[in-house]
């Protein structure tokens, strides 16, 4: 940011660049106000509710209780567990989705006709709603009628094997959820990488090939660095998406076993909406938003993504 500002100032001082044709702030107002009205205002109300006791009944207006909900947050073991689960799911999402989307996306970017057809097939899961995907997978992981049962028959496994109780312990249940994320959202990221890879000038590869660089070498020293910004955007969407995801957990495990898959959004739903304690739920929601925003801010800073906010003249 700092650097950006200086360059900009320098730019204006130089005075060489016409500032005519540049949109002023008014251009962004309609969308910003619209967005603020429907999300920031309700969000502010949610923050207000976190200082109240409120059962969600408008006839019983929220009662101001100061920091009580926040005190409770500090010692709430469930919340600590939920933060752990949230982080675990994000790490799982990133370590599985980034490599797979990158490799498949770069592969699909090749000019071959058959790759284009296959790439179109990869996109299919994105057409399904999360609820639909989860319902589909819930029937697939059923120990007695789903894929675990079929595997048991094919490989003649003992009744109790590693697949037989996938949702019964938190490690495998988290694995299943991460897999569903992978299946459902990596197609989008694959597509983003595919598009990004097509943008890399062919001439770079030609030059590298003349220098005798092999395929792996080309991938590491040309493809990956050239896709840096693509990677940042994709990962940001991925992290924030995983942070706020909730449908899968509601429909698949309801946070179980014993809270082992209850991430922050689900915990908020569980404590706030399901248990009809909107005050406490709002406090959890506030924590969620603070962490999510901080994470994306750190990512943005660390990667220099925010420089994209300005114009290209710094480049």
């Amino acid at each position: 940011m700092h650097r950006l500002r200086t360059t900009e100032r320098a730019g204006t001082k130089r005075g060489g660049r016409p500032s005519a044709g540049r949109p002023n702030f008014v251009w962004s107002l309609p969308a910003l106000l619209f967005f603020a009205f429907f999300s920031v205002v309700p969000l502010a109300v949610a923050i207000y509710l976190s200082f109240t006791s409120y059962q969600g009944i408008p006839l019983l207006p929220p009662e101001w209780i100061g920091l009580q909900n926040w005190d409770r947050l500090l010692t709430d073991e469930g919340l600590h567990k939920a933060i752990y689960v949230t982080v675990a799911l994000i790490v799982l999402a990133v370590v599985t989705q980034v490599p797979i989307s990158l490799l498949i996306g770069v592969w699909a970017a090749g000019p071959q006709r058959n790759r284009a057809v296959v790439a179109a097939l990869y996109f299919i899961p994105l057409l399904m709603s999360t609820a639909a995907i989860t319902v589909l997978f819930a029937s697939l992981v059923d120990p007695n009628f789903g894929i675990p049962a079929t595997l048991r028959e094919i490989f003649n496994l003992p009744v109790d094997n590693v697949f037989s109780n996938l949702l019964g312990n938190s490690t495998t249940a988290l694995g299943v959820i991460a897999f569903i994320y992978l299946w459902g959202s990596s197609p989008l990221h694959t597509l983003i990488y595919q598009a990004g890879a097509r943008n890399i000038p062919e001439v770079l590869y030609q030059a590298a090939a003349i220098d005798g660089a092999g395929r792996v070498r080309q991938f590491v020293s040309i493809t990956v660095p050239m896709l840096r910004n693509t990677m940042v955007t994709s990962t940001l969407i991925m992290v924030v998406g995983t942070f706020t995801s909730f449908d899968i957990i509601l429909l698949l495990t309801r946070g179980g076993p014993s809270g082992g898959t209850s991430n922050l959004p689900y915990y908020m739903y569980d404590q706030g909406i399901a248990a009809l304690d909107f005050g406490y739920g709002s406090a959890v929601a506030t924590i969620l938003i603070v962490i999510a925003t901080a994470t994306s801010a750190v990512m943005v800073k660390a990667t220099g993504y925010d420089k994209m906010a300005g114009t290209q003249e710094g480049i």
Binding site: T12, S19, G21, F38, A46, Y122, M128, F137
Partner: protein, 272 residues
Amino acid sequence: MRQRPNYLAGAFAGLWLLIILLPIYIMVRAAFESRATYSENGPLGLPTEFTLENFRYAFDNGFGRYMLNTGIVTLGTVLIVVVLVPPLAFALVRGQSRWTRVSFQSMLFGLAIPAQVVVIPLNFLITKVGLYDTLIGVILPTAAFTIPLTTLVLSSSMREIGNELYEAMALDGAGPVRSFLRLVLPLSKGGIATIVIFAALQAWNNYLLPLTLTRSDDLRVATLGLGIFRQEYSLNIPGIMAAILLTVIPILLLYIFARRALVRGLMGVGGK
């Protein structure tokens, strides 16, 4: 200067294709099976039966109406996004006021707001403005929640427009309006196609907002219609698969139609 085929990568891509397609296969097969056949065959069986009964069941339960409502919500959301987002993205990319940076930050911030956090206040708000139990009341917040992501995507894509083009416009004495209409919009077609798809997907998948903001059967959207099949105590899996399939078809058509534009639009997402 092509290299020899990359067999390893091909095998990996094939394996991944299998992983993607297997659940799809199970869904499609089950949608055309009776409930009894499905529970006998299990998920991995081969197709043995072909019935349209599940689809008839879906339509008998008003699914046609629900799909139409979803169509209206999707169209409305897309229209709002297409009208509001390009000027914002233009301002973010070309604007120089520090407010544009604040806008950009707030968009990043907006990305992280999950809809379920604001459902209660939103319900309140929509009721107060008299839009409870109307499709407009669903469209407005749905579109609002789509704005951050679509803005980021579109502004990345607009950044690809070369500075020299703007300068050329400016030298001709063009103001921001003319630059926007004559330069930015025509060159952002791909990006706009992308945000159309993003917004459409968001609207199409929406569950929580229509659930809390409407009550009439006439206004139910397709995702809520899926709820009919998920009865409280029993579940007709082939019926649900058929319903899921129905919800996929229109967006599949949109995708086939707009895929080229979409991929072109996504090329800008990462910037260079």
